[in-house]
Amino acid sequence: MIRGRVIGEVWATRKAPGLTGRRMLLVGVDGQDRAMVAIDTLDAREGEAVMVSVGSGARNVLAPGPDNRALLCDAAISLIVDGEG
């Protein structure tokens, strides 16, 4: 998983059918000059620290199980960080 912070949002009308209804957030990756677009199902807000799952782990965020290979998702917010010690 990748640690980052929600910095914004992306809107698109013309998109692959598999992205219909998905909310896409811009996440700045901690410690790197890199921003990623992640699908959000947790209603994360701007400025919140989050963890982003990538690859098949990201599909499991949207629909757990072995039959989710048809899902279009390579990055999804899997948790919102409350705190760390």
Partner: protein, 107 residues
């Protein structure tokens, strides 16, 4: 996935047969500094190295797009291809959305 700007296209006559007719675009990813930097009101032009990706949505030069990597890229392409043209194609990046608008809170 990542946000990028289309900066050109790539064409080739010698290629894997499954790639026949597939449009290939050259895109440049936005870095965190490009998006959230303090370069005034307008976002900076992206500066990262380019990425070549497949496009079945019809994106044009100058448009902002969302690119997916890996299996998600093949899913996106096969969704829009005729039945039977399943994702056996050798691509690992594809345009999955043409961006209308994006917003970043600059703090």
């Amino acid at each position: 996935m990542f946000l990028a700007k289309v900066i050109g296209s790539v064409w080739s006559s010698v290629k894997w047969p499954e790639l026949g007719g597939m449009k290939l675009l050259l895109v440049r990813p936005y870095s965190l500094a490009d998006l959230a930097g303090d370069a005034g009101d307008a976002p900076a032009a992206p500066t990262h190295d380019g990425v070549v990706c497949a496009d079945v949505l019809g994106a044009g030069v100058g448009e902002d797009v969302v690119i997916a990597y890996g299996h998600a890229a093949r899913v996106a392409v096969s969704e829009l291809l005729p039945d039977g043209a399943k994702p056996s194609i050798p691509i690992d990046a594809a345009v999955v959305a043409i961006v209308d608008r994006w917003a970043v809170n600059r703090q």
